[in-house]
Amino acid sequence: MPRKTYVAAIQEALAEEMRRDPRVFLIGEDVRIGVFPSTRGLHAEFGDKRVIDTPISELAVAGAGIGAAVTGLRPIVDLMFGTFLYLAFDQIANQAGAMRYMYGGQTKAPLVFMVQNGAGSSAGHHHSQAVHQFFMNMPQIKVILPSTPYDGKGLLKSAIRDDNPVLFLHSLALGGKRGDVPADEYLIPIGAADIKRAGNDVTICAVGPTVYTALSAAKTLAARGVEAEVIDLRSLSPWDKATVLESVAKTGRFVAVDESFPVCSAASEWCATVAEAAFHHLRAPVQRVANKDVPMPFSPVLEKAVLPSVADVIEAVNKTLV
C-alpha cells in the first residue's frame, strides 16, 4: 500500500470528492495557496469557482457555507485554526446545527467545517486551543478528529458525503505523519472507533494527537506487563460508546486522554459515560488526562508542560491499578 502523509491524505480526500461531485467546493481564507498544505493543488485542478479565497470574515464565510448548503451545494468551509471558529460560533451553533430541526425537517445542511485543532507549534493561546468539546456539546453537529492518514482520508470523504453539518478537525502536529493509504477508494463511517492497540488490563480512550501519547504510554506499560487497550475514537460526535464500553467490560479500568481544557471536556464526557454505563465493571476509578487547566502558553517548555504527556497517562493508568 502507498505510504502517504496525513496532509497528503487530506488533500486526496478533498480532490477525489471534488472530482466525484460537482456540488462540492472549497471556500476560505487563502485556500488556493493553502495556509495549511491540506488544500494545496486544488485550485490548479478545480479553478476559481470551486476553490474560493475569501476576505478574513469568519462569521460571513461560515454563514455563506450554510446558505450554500441549504440551497443544494456541498461546501467545505476552511476556517484555518480552531479558535477562529469562535468568530463563527453563532452561525455554527445557532444555525448550522439547528436549521433542520428548527424548520421541522424542511431542509438539510450538508457542509463540512475544517480547522486545525489544538496546540503543539508554540503559537500561543490564540492559535493553540482545542475546540472539539464545544461542538460535541452542540446538538446535530458531527465532529471528527483523525489520527492517521488512513483515517483522515476515509473520514473526510465520509464527512463530505454526509448530509449533515460536520466539523472536520485536523492536527498540524500530525501533518507530517506517514501511514498506509490504499490506492482504491474507501470510506470510514463516522461514529466508529478504531482499536489501535489491543489489551486486557486497562482501556485508554484517545483521539487525534493523544492517540500517540496513549500508544507510547502503552508501550512503556507493556514492558511492565500491563497491556493497555488503546481506542482511537476518531469521531467525537457521534462517538462509539459501544466499543468503549465493551472494552471496559473486559479491562475494568478506564483512562481518558484528551488534549483540551479539562473541564466539560471530551474526557469528562467519556468518563461520565463509562461511570454511568460500566460502573459494575469498573475495578478502579476512571481517570482523566487533559491539559492543565490554564490558557496555552507560548514557550515550548511551558506548552509541553500544559499538554497531556506520556508520563501523565502512565500515572493515570497506575492509579487504576492500585
Binding site: 467546493f25 471556500i27 469557482k49 474560493i52 475569501t54 476576505p55 470574515s57 469568519e58 462569521l59 460571513a60 464565510v61 461560515a62 454563514g63 455563506a64 457555507g65 450554510i66 446558505g67 450554500a68 448548503a69 441549504v70 440551497t71 443544494g72 451545494l73 461546501p75 453563532d90 452561525q91 445557532n94 444555525q95 436549521m99 433542520r100 430541526y101 428548527m102 424548520y103 421541522g104 425537517g105 424542511q106 431542509t107 438539510k108 446538538p139 446535530q140 458531527k142 448530509d163 449533515n164
Partner: protein, 327 residues
C-alpha cells in the same frame, strides 16, 4: 406617488400582499393579547410595503431570508397563512411542526429560507444562497431582509463585503424602522442613511421610501435586475416605521416606561403603507371599491379559517422531539 408605469396587476398583487399581512397580524395581535400564543411575537404592521414591494419583484425561484419580525416576509413571498398560524400556536400542522414558532418560520418550497431570531444572523446565509446561484449559473437572486439595528452587527459588514468581493446576486434590504428594540437608530449610529455604508463595499446604496410599496417595488426591481445580470449586490435602505411595539405585550412589560414621544408615534401612525396604497388604488381606479372590499373580506375569512384550523390542530406529539434530526 407617480407610479403610472407600474402595471395594474402588479399593483393589485402588491396591495393583496400588504392586506394579507395586515389582516394576519391584526389577528395575531388579538390572539397574543388573549394569551393564546406562546413565546415572543414581533409584528410588522406599518412595514408591509417593504416585504410586499420587494417580493413582488421576485420570481418563485428567488430566495429570501428574514428576521425575528418575519411574518410579513413569509406572507409576501407567498407563504401559507394556515401553516403560519398553526406554527404561531406551536401546533403540529405548523410550517415547522411547532419547532420553530414566530421567529423561525421557513418555507423552502417557495424560496423562503427561514426567519432567524439572531439579529443579523440571516445576512451571511443570504450571501450563501447568492453564492449558490452564482456557482450553479442560475439566475436566482437572494434577498435578505434585516433591520437598522442589524446593520450594526459584524455580520452585516462581513456579508456585504463578501458578496461584493465575489460579485454575488444578493439584494440587501435594510428595514430602517428607526428603532432597535427601544434604542433609536440615531443613537446607535452616527449617520443619517444606512445606505451610505454601501460606499464601504463598492456597491450601490439606495434610500427608498419604505412606506410606499410601489417605490419599493421599483427600487427592488432595479437591484434584482442588476444582481441577475451579474452586476453584484445592492444595499437598499427602506425608511419605514413600526406602528406598534417592538414585541407584543411590551406596554405591560415596560411597566410604564416609554421610549417614543407621542408626536413621533402619531407621525408614524400617519404613514400607513396600506392606506397609502389604498388611496392610490382608488384614485387611479385600479380596483373598484366593491372588489377591494371583497378582497378584504376574503382575506379576513382566510385568516379566521387559519385561526380555527390552528386551534383545532393537535399539539405536536412528544416523540417528535426526536424527529428531524441527523439524516
Amino acid at each position: 406617488m407617480h407610479h403610472q408605469d407600474i402595471a395594474v396587476d402588479v399593483v393589485v398583487d402588491i396591495y393583496t400582499r400588504i392586506l394579507r399581512i395586515r389582516r394576519f397580524e391584526e389577528e395575531v395581535a388579538r390572539l397574543f393579547r388573549q394569551g393564546q400564543l406562546p413565546g415572543f411575537v414581533h409584528l410588522y404592521i406599518g412595514e408591509e410595503a417593504v416585504a410586499a414591494g420587494v417580493c413582488a419583484a421576485l420570481t418563485d425561484e428567488d430566495t429570501i431570508i428574514s428576521t425575528h419580525r418575519g411574518h410579513g416576509h413569509v406572507i409576501a413571498k407567498g407563504g401559507d397563512i394556515k401553516r403560519m398560524m398553526a406554527e404561531l400556536f406551536g401546533k403540529s400542522t405548523g410550517y415547522c411542526k411547532g419547532k420553530g414558532g414566530s421567529m423561525h418560520i421557513a418555507d423552502f418550497d417557495i424560496g423562503m429560507l427561514g426567519a432567524i431570531g439572531i439579529v443579523g444572523g440571516g445576512i451571511p446565509i443570504a450571501v450563501g444562497a447568492g453564492l449558490s446561484a452564482w456557482y450553479t449559473n442560475s439566475d436566482r437572486v437572494s434577498v435578505c431582509f434585516f433591520g437598522d439595528g442589524a446593520a450594526n452587527e459584524g455580520s452585516f459588514h462581513e456579508s456585504l463585503n463578501l458578496a461584493s468581493a465575489l460579485t454575488l446576486p444578493v439584494v440587501f434590504v435594510c428595514e430602517n424602522n428607526q428603532y432597535g428594540e427601544f434604542t433609536p437608530a440615531a443613537k446607535a449610529m452616527n449617520i443619517e442613511h444606512i445606505a451610505d455604508r454601501a460606499v464601504g463595499y463598492g456597491i450601490p446604496g439606495v434610500v427608498a421610501n419604505g412606506v410606499d410599496a410601489l417605490e419599493m417595488y421599483r427600487v427592488a426591481s432595479a437591484a434584482v435586475r442588476r444582481a441577475r445580470g451579474g452586476g453584484g449586490p445592492t444595499l437598499i435602505e427602506a425608511k419605514t416605521h413600526r406602528r406598534g411595539s417592538h414585541a407584543e405585550g411590551e406596554e405591560a412589560f415596560l411597566g410604564g416606561q416609554t421610549y417614543r414621544d407621542e408626536a413621533e408615534t402619531a407621525a408614524a401612525q400617519a404613514k400607513d403603507p396600506l392606506l397609502l396604497l389604498h388611496t392610490y388604488v382608488g384614485e387611479n381606479n385600479i380596483l373598484p371599491q366593491n372588489q377591494l372590499e371583497a378582497l378584504d373580506a376574503q382575506i379576513t375569512i382566510a385568516v379566521q379559517e387559519a385561526v380555527d384550523a390552528a386551534r383545532n390542530s393537535p399539539e405536536p406529539a412528544v416523540e417528535t422531539v426526536f424527529e428531524d434530526l441527523w439524516l
